[in-house]
Symmetry: C2
Amino acid sequence: MISQHYKEMCATPSVIRSLAVYAAERGKEIGYENVFDYSLGNPSVPVPQAFNDAIRHLLDTKTSAQAHGYSPNPGNPEVRRIVADSLNRRFGMDYKMEHIFMTSAAASAIAHALRCVTAPGDEVLTFAPFFPEYVPYINQSGAVLKVVPADTESFQINFTAFEEMLNPKVQAVLINTPNNPSGIAYSSETLKKLADVLYAKQEEYGHEIFLLSDEPYREIVFAGADAPFVSKFYDNTLCCYSWSKSLSIPGERIGYVAVNPKAKDAEMIVPMCVQISRGIGHNCPASIIQQAVGECIDLTSDLGVYETNMNILYKELTELGFSVVKPGGTFYIFPKALEEDAVAFCEKAKKYDLILVPSDSFGVKGYFRMAYCIDTEKVERSLPALREFVTKEYR
Amino acid sequence: MISQHYKEMCATPSVIRSLAVYAAERGKEIGYENVFDYSLGNPSVPVPQAFNDAIRHLLDTKTSAQAHGYSPNPGNPEVRRIVADSLNRRFGMDYKMEHIFMTSAAASAIAHALRCVTAPGDEVLTFAPFFPEYVPYINQSGAVLKVVPADTESFQINFTAFEEMLNPKVQAVLINTPNNPSGIAYSSETLKKLADVLYAKQEEYGHEIFLLSDEPYREIVFAGADAPFVSKFYDNTLCCYSWSKSLSIPGERIGYVAVNPKAKDAEMIVPMCVQISRGIGHNCPASIIQQAVGECIDLTSDLGVYETNMNILYKELTELGFSVVKPGGTFYIFPKALEEDAVAFCEKAKKYDLILVPSDSFGVKGYFRMAYCIDTEKVERSLPALREFVTKEYR
């Protein structure tokens, strides 16, 4: 019999996707180049040439079985070693191959990490504003997502609210830094304080609380930002990474879980991920893609355009009187709307062909997200529309 | 806290994998070419040149976003259309793009299809002998796998046992034809009878019973075999396909669910798969791999070697007095062991460097599986070892 649960889920469309569809439709009327589409977080810079060259080289030099054969369940061993070595070199960690589990990007990394450290009914805390896909990611695993209200002053962590919500049922805390949608990176001070709270609560509750660190924007950090490596601060950290944004290959679905070697049962987590894979039908990301990222381990796309775009928008938004915290990374900015109802605000913006995402689905009201992973030329062309929108609607 | 459930699962090693590890270890002692390793179902023929050429061509001609960007959630639309058209052309079906959901091979196809048509606690029936991974695939979704005893005369379906086990809690039946491990393809007569039983039981229970058809060996069918397309026989069929074996690309993790257009709520199933993806962390197979299989839709590797190997082994096994049903496809053969305890039989075979898999984990006792996806030359070299084993141990 058809599952009523999943059938009903189909009836709730994603706000972001609906806006992207609207932008595409509007583009058919006036030319997509005239729609200032800030809806989707889709990398706009090309893949590095070296990535495509790596695939060509693998096809030219490997046997069919080496290129396209089964990976062992935790992933290609050589690639796992390369990932561990790179993290150790860059962040002074002590990963071994045995701590790395290759996944189909961050969604899959979170799916595995989450099941390693929670059982159905356990609570997982995350901090607003947050990526809305965390709701199905977590609730469909059987755990229960609870959202800690935002610290809207800085978009760091609201520790007062956090400590109130901590309780013995909390088995994991999920963070995302640099953050979608705020663009903010958690500072060393924030991460130190977070670790202190978690260490104290582990002691108090008599069980581990795992920190799941979702890091797809780790390589997109702007000048002056304090954006340290999360796993340095807290032993029971599972780092969930994706190359989607750093190499502009979101469709290739490639990432990993890196288990902090100091975590409780660290040597068990990757074998547990293998068991979890069997139940949720993964069994490794694509072999040739694993090997190609291994060949490009310390490369990124030319990510500088995101900082350029951020600076243009931050300056303009500030001058227009928006209250906005300057992003430390990502390709998002998250200003306060000019009226309480962000949905109404974003609806009005459509009249000026500005596609902005209201903050409600990110777990905070009265803000909006702009995804500036678009050409700088288009960002600049959008400024007059932004000025006109603000002037006509709110002056 | 670390999940005890998954931690405990790690303690149970796979019989097949343990044998493969033994074979590799033994290979280090005597040279792997001297180990007659029939343990693993890993394609031995190379990928078609056209597949690698398709990847090169995509890299040369597509933009970065076209090659490596996000697919829409159900998969690349053009590839879904190509899959539907190919199935229609080959099997006289009426699929549209909307009925095709791209997956990370058959494991992922089954993970999605299963969750579409069962809820936790529902029963899923499969027929012995069966692929042992069905146990975690199904039980970890919350549904409950029940195994119908084998018809060891023909390895078609034991309908008497099947009808006894059917009850209103059964929401899905999972079949695999051509079959791992028996190598048998279900005949038109079997599939017709299966459909008749299911239609009658749907009527009796007042709910649909879905047929999940796991078809990774669909393109490996031998001369004279009656191996029809399952979805022709029964409306509520979800076809779960993988290119792992047909194109020798098991590491690239690519397949699909094809929803019979006549199935109940056929137009809902793919959107439901999208929702399921969010919870289990999939979100499409790799973009470049999707597009490459689209370019090679009606190609296969040169699969003839499997039939050659089967004929050599079937002749030898029969001459040695084994009771064995001649395979209609796959790269497996499933003879009766020469003693009741198949585990003891396969243990003795190791003395002759024959690596055979006892049937116990496939849900039937007293048989063994040989995976003959190895070079024909090695199959021929294994025959004296097989003869010596039988003569010394059982004559």
